[in-house]
């Protein structure tokens, strides 16, 4: 490793440190032309037959890529789904043909839209757990990463009272 490069990396590292409150940045995963950031999941109630996974994918390449498959040892199966809401009715469908990430585009798997659907989790997802998942992209290949189980943001607004973890005692 050449010295200037090392210094550059050190500076970059310090920049991350000084940015400080951006753990997602520090956890970014690079795979081919893709940067995968903030992989997370939500806590699941006991015997919940499903769980959800989220992340943000940016394509820095010059060719489109496609998320075509997902798998995890933490669940029987992982599918790529899209949720949508129309006229107050919630629908959820597997995404046919995968999720395309165009060159220069950022695609978010986030509440209310695309998500990784964990079918039959082996055990409930608890706050702080790391859920291993492997994602297969048509162009960039397969990448392994961990989703951190976090308190989901509130859907309506960002009221702190809304952001409540699943509490086995029901909050009492």
């Amino acid at each position: 490793m050449s010295k200037p490069l090392f210094a550059g990396r050190l500076a970059a590292g310090l920049l991350v440190l000084s940015a400080g409150f951006s753990p997602a940045l520090a956890l970014d995963v690079h795979q081919g032309a893709l940067i995968l950031s903030h992989p997370w999941s939500r806590p699941t109630p006991p015997s919940a037959p499903t769980g959800a996974g989220y992340l943000t994918i940016t394509n820095h390449g010059s060719a489109p890529d496609r998320l075509i498959a997902a798998a995890s040892p933490a669940a029987n199966q992982v599918q790529i789904h899209q949720m949508s809401m129309a006229g107050g009715i919630m629908t959820m469908r597997p995404v046919e043909g995968g999720i395309v990430i165009a060159p220069g585009a950022t695609v978010s798997l986030a509440p209310g839209g695309y998500h990784l659907m964990f079918i039959a989790p082996r055990r409930p997802f608890k706050l702080g757990d790391q859920i291993p998942v492997s994602l297969t992209f048509e162009r960039s290949g397969t990448v392994k990463l961990d989703l951190t189980v976090e308190t989901p943001p509130a859907p309506g607004d960002s009221m702190p009272g809304m952001a409540m973890p699943v509490d086995p005692k029901g909050g009492h």
């Binding site: 939500r42 806590p43 699941t44 109630p45 006991p46 015997s47 919940a48 037959p49 499903t50 769980g51 959800a52 599918q79 789904h81 949720m83 809401m85 006229g87 107050g88 009715i89 919630m90 629908t91 959820m92 469908r93 597997p94 509440p111 209310g112 998500h115 659907m117 964990f118 079918i119 989901p152 509130a154 859907p155 309506g156 607004d157 009221m159 009272g161 809304m162 409540m164 699943v166 509490d167 086995p168 029901g170 909050g171 009492h172």
Partner: protein, 198 residues
Amino acid sequence: MARRWFLAGVVAVMIALGGAAALFWPMGAGGGGGGVGGRSVGGPFSLADQDGRPVTEQTLKGKPTAIVFGFTYCPEICPTTLTNMTAWLKALGPDADRLNMVFVSVDPERDTPAQLKSYLSAFDPRIRGLTGSPEAVARIAGEYQVYYRKVPIAGGGYTMDHSSAIYLMDAKGRFVAPIAFGTPFDSALASLRRLIHP
């Protein structure tokens, strides 16, 4: 005479359209008053709670009710709604005991009372989970003008499309207002307080 038959025909078509509207346009957002298409939201039903105890519309009367329809295979909307219900009950303090909170499964094939009991153990124990035979669930969904549909998934299994709003009913079982999914926490809490203290 011909005019009278014409009018009768118009009325019949309007009733039919009203019925169709009720089927496809449940009380998602907005509304208020009695219901949709001239029909009221709510009515008789016969289901069981997560402990297997029978629950009917009569069981709920005497206290206002917040009722929502969902299923435990739902990865996002239903746990979010139940998490909010738990937080609202906590925020209501003693008033929480003057309200019924009800979660009705639209997936009775998979959501047995035992499944509901286990799933709901993560939330406030005052939330009652209701399920029953497919016919009994179809009946309550019809009474509440709730849309739901079973959708097969390629590779096996199925998911459910369903209405996501919470319906607020008064102590006599009459529809008051919906809380749409995504309503800000405090605004929904204020609606619940108004329901308890009309």
